[in-house]
Amino acid sequence: MMRFLLALALFSGLLVCGPASAEKLVSTLSDDAVEITSNFTGSNITVFGAVDGAKSASGERDYEVAIVVAGPQMPLVVRRKGQVAGIWINTASREFYNVPSFYVIHMSENLNDAASQQLLARYKLDFADLGFSRDASYTPQDEAFAKALVELKKQKELFVKRGDAVTFLAPNVFRTTFHLPSAIPVGTYHVSVFLFRHEELVAAEVQSLLVEKSGFSDRIARFSTEQPLLYGLFAVMVAVFTGWMAGIIFRRN
């Protein structure tokens, strides 16, 4: 859906701008799926991109690139602790419905230095612009909860913004590498590549990246959600068997 909308936006952009900016953006991911196996310690994904039909006759580099990796959206509750009779206890909470579980923004150097707030807001290139949806009853004071959410996500490396992370290998070829930490949520991720020139979007492309549990850890997770009763009984059997075996092994000594 998102891919379709972007394609539409791109298409209409082309119509408006005419042939003057008929550049084509081509990008690719080093992997299109990340498998979380039993020994998963995080992973790196590299995005390569090139601008086809680039007007590089002048030789100067005037393209800027932003790459956003967004994880599946989830409803979250943010809780704040307060002191009740000296004890720290959760006293207030706010709910946000469409928080990306993972959001990494990589930008080329000049874009990071010079981009206007409007540009960042329009393409959601800043955490303040994500605008998580919430109940209509929420007041501006509740923004503190949204800010705290972003801070906590940043601490877990699930929200990252790096200003000089997209490097140009040639005036029209660029590359960036982003890191997926080990505590990454599973689901379908979207990798969006935005190409700008002089504060204007020239081209954009969205690709999906699948993050899934795989192998033994996947089988256990599935077992637990699909057959919770059998899973519980199996856990008890493993425990009883191990305890019984241990009793036999160590009694001999």
Binding site: R79, I89, P185, V236, A239, G243, G247, F250
Partner: protein, 308 residues
Amino acid sequence: MQLYLPIAELTVNIFVYLGMGAAVGFISGMFGVGGGFLLTPLLIFSGISPAVAVATVTPQIVASSTSAAISYWRRRMIDPQLTMFLIVGGVTGSWLGVRVFTMLRSLGQLDVIISLSYVTFLGLIGGLMLREALRSFLRARRGRPPNLRRGRHHNWLLGLPFKVRFRRSKLYVSVIPVILLGLSIGFLGTVLGIGGGFIMVPALIYLLRVPSNVVIGTSLGYILFTMALATVLHSLENGAVDLMLACLLIVGGVVGAQFGAQIGQAMRGDQLRLFLALLVLAVALRFLLNLFLPPASLYSIALLQGIG
């Protein structure tokens, strides 16, 4: 060596958790306690979410009580009738416990309730144990014989109706306090991730006057059943039992327990009880600090539904 825990959704160093299981197993073998009251807090402090910690410790308790329960059964040191009635209460208690656990979790108050309960119960039991241990320790030093007299039967609990004769315990008491005892410990154990042996054993001795030769076996049999049930219920209601983590803890635990038991046999009973009392109080103190010291972050986030 790193291992991804599929339910906790974390990558951890397996030696940390094998070591944690072994250390707690060592202590439980040494003192003859289940060790859940140490293992659950250790898991929580190491970064496992309280829900997964509590649920995953339950199969570990099953494993650590199995071999001991079998050997007590062989030596006819379990009162089957008494265990049965305790389990009847325990089943109800476990079921209630899981419901309350799920409810507290969705209200966002699970962590604070777990901390408060640990402070209360460990503080209380640890305090009583310390007093008891110090008394007998001092008595032993003064050279007087330890007080082995069983309390007299003028307890109001024993006057209740529905009396049943428990033959191996040589008791004739009402089943009401027995079932209530099983219920409350089953409830606590399920909510807090503890077997509850350190509450069950003194309760059987002081409240029901069960003779000491069947106390530990009966308590073990009861714990084995209620924790097995708690494992199944936690899987069904919360999906929070991490089998990988449980295996690490179990393997570490059974090995540690063997070495602990050897050390324990070489130590004097009153010394052991004194150390255990101090250990229990130390865990209570750690939770107390947790409740009153300002947290590192005022805010926390959790998924609205399902497991975080």
